[in-house]
Point group: C2
Chain length 366, copies 2
């Protein structure tokens, strides 16, 4: 495997010094920023995540901040999810689409005030889209990337660790809600959320200067909890069916194809730019959709889309795959045509190492 | 140095198989795609580039295609460079700016027809900006990313190699112009351009399926020319003052700060979205600007901005730096405040390895 070349363009994070001191072994680039992918090994990191608590440098989940009288109008233009009932203190997972209903990003929206939102983005320069929409539609709103870097605390002992730093009140934060908590005299937005199924929090660290002090405080407080540096774990996120923008879905896909139809209120989300296109999809249903797929045999790293075949004919593709220790199978995420998406359907996967038998699952491994 | 993690999100290119067979040792991620950074070593690659000819996988220079009656109007909205006299067959280097004059990208525009352009982009999702501008301003234009992957042929023997595949006519292509040439029955757009000062071509490979056939044909034809797989070389591009978006300039900078004022025709580029903001800058001049900087002593890899100090006070920053074998100095690119940007000004650079003396140069090493 080739090493990653150093350059300013691939931005370091406020936590990079901590990540490197913890012995990061693999990186990827996400929103022009370093994102750790492995510390001890993917399977050792996986085991530890499920048993203990990890601190993740997910600063690459950059924020697009909307501020001003038209902020609410603009955010509804970006997504088919009806945001009218969203309250301050809530986080919403929202597919964001272009005028054809193609996915541009699948961020979490954080409502900070009636006229102020953060869009916590997946890997695409959504800022460019949002800024140009605000400009083209002459909206009264400021759009920018603030100095906010999320740090995730994930794993079954996440509550135990967080209470030590932020007090018992942090336990009361409900799933996909947030509260404000003090750290060294600064108020931090802390949400119960994160890119794993093990539970935990995301701290929106405002101001890079307190990145390492917070990192160090978490490790000092959690030594007996076996806290470790971690990162989104490929195996765990596939088991849990957590999609990855750029991997499992792209601009070519509608939210319905991605199984995100439940976040599309195309009848009421008036103002959404992609609404007309998606209304059509909502009526007729998608012709292909994301499915959990189990693959048999040895598989290589999934660094490209692998064709899914039925009788030699392409009926879909695998976009994420990994061997799961807990489920004793290769767990995978694929996009499958409706003719072959029923649970139990037997298919073949064309991996670079050869054909492998595969079976469509009725659900992810959760 | 950590390895780069495999995932579909970090896209392979039509030439990745060739790049890997050639023993690529380092990668970066550029426009969500793999970009090789080193083969033998940065200095050995540098020597070879200056003496022979290299084939570069720069597929990551993705194209944003504009097609339709409003294509010309749209492209002028994106840049302060006056494009009215641009002819079919020409390539223009054009800063692209937002409504505040901040740089969004510094691509090369290729004019394929009066109503059809490719924008060959640096590392940002310019597609999102352009699509939203087209939508917001209700323009009659299609905007998309076509299946076009540039392959660069760079070095003093580039002409010799290209003639063998495309005939003598390829020599007649003038700098920043292009022609159409046949390869295996397909017409390819070939420009005299590239991200080095050693001369050469960029082949816009339309259709990923002919990527490896073309790659292989080039290596077969150029064996006695010592053709090798290469990539943009950090030392050579700093010597030549070739800026890198994300490294030497960001959305925070105007073109004037980047020394690109000559590409800003703010008096005539009517329609440019950032014109009003840049008119102001053009009148008063920027307060900081890109400079060539020589740094003394040993320096580490430049993976973050290094502060430039004068008497302990910050007066700028270094964003790219490397030891140059040919010039016996550390060559660097920095942004310096006007109070300290005169050639010969002595400064200090705060590198992670300590303070280093530095001198502002009157020009790059060309």
């Amino acid at each position: 495997m080739a090493t990653i070349a150093p350059s300013r363009r691939v931005r370091r994070t406020p936590f990079s010094d901590g990540v490197e001191a913890a012995g990061v072994k693999g990186y990827t680039v996400y929103n022009h920023m370093l994102l750790p992918t492995v510390f001890e090994s993917i399977t050792a990191d996986y085991r530890h995540l499920k048993d203990h608590v990890q601190v993740w440098d997910v600063a690459c989940e950059r924020q697009v901040e909307l501020r001003g009288p038209d902020a609410a109008r603009l955010i509804q233009m970006l997504t088919p999810r009806d945001l009218r009932k969203m309250r301050v203190g809530q986080c919403y997972y929202v597919p964001m689409v272009d005028e054809t209903g193609g996915m541009l990003n699948d961020p979490v929206v954080v409502k900070l005030a009636e006229d102020r939102y953060w869009i916590s983005i997946a890997d695409s320069d959504l800022l460019f889209w949002v800024k140009a929409i605000a400009l083209g539609f002459r909206l009264d709103v400021l759009v920018d990337e603030p100095d906010v870097s999320p740090l995730a605390i994930q794993g079954p002992k996440a509550d135990a660790l967080m209470v030590r730093l932020f007090g018992d009140a942090v336990r009361d934060v409900k799933f996909f809600h947030f509260g404000w908590f003090d750290f060294q005299g600064r108020s931090l937005t802390i949400a119960r959320s994160g890119y794993s199924k093990q539970g935990g929090y995301e701290i929106y660290v405002e101001g890079g200067d307190i990145g390492m002090p917070l990192w160090n405080a978490l490790f000092a407080a959690g030594e007996d909890l076996q806290v470790r540096a971690g990162c989104p774990n490929m195996i765990e996120r596939i088991e849990g069916g957590l999609l990855s923008y750029g991997n499992d879905m792209t601009r070519n896909n509608t939210p319905h194809e991605c199984g995100l139809g439940k976040f599309c209120n195309t009848n009421t989300a008036i103002g959404c730019i992609g609404r007309d296109a998606l209304l059509r999809v909502a009526k007729e249903g998608p012709v292909q959709q994301i499915r959990a797929i189990a693959i048999e045999g040895d598989i290589p790293a999934c660094d490209r889309a692998w064709p899914l075949l039925a009788g030699g004919k392409k009926v879909g593709q695998i976009t994420s795959a990994a061997a799961s220790p807990d489920f004793g199978a290769n767990v995978a995420i694929g996009m499958v045509r409706m003719t072959h998406w029923d649970a139990g359907t037997r298919l073949e996967v064309e991996t670079p190492a050869g054909l492998r038998p595969a079976t469509v699952q009725d659900k992810f491994w959760i």
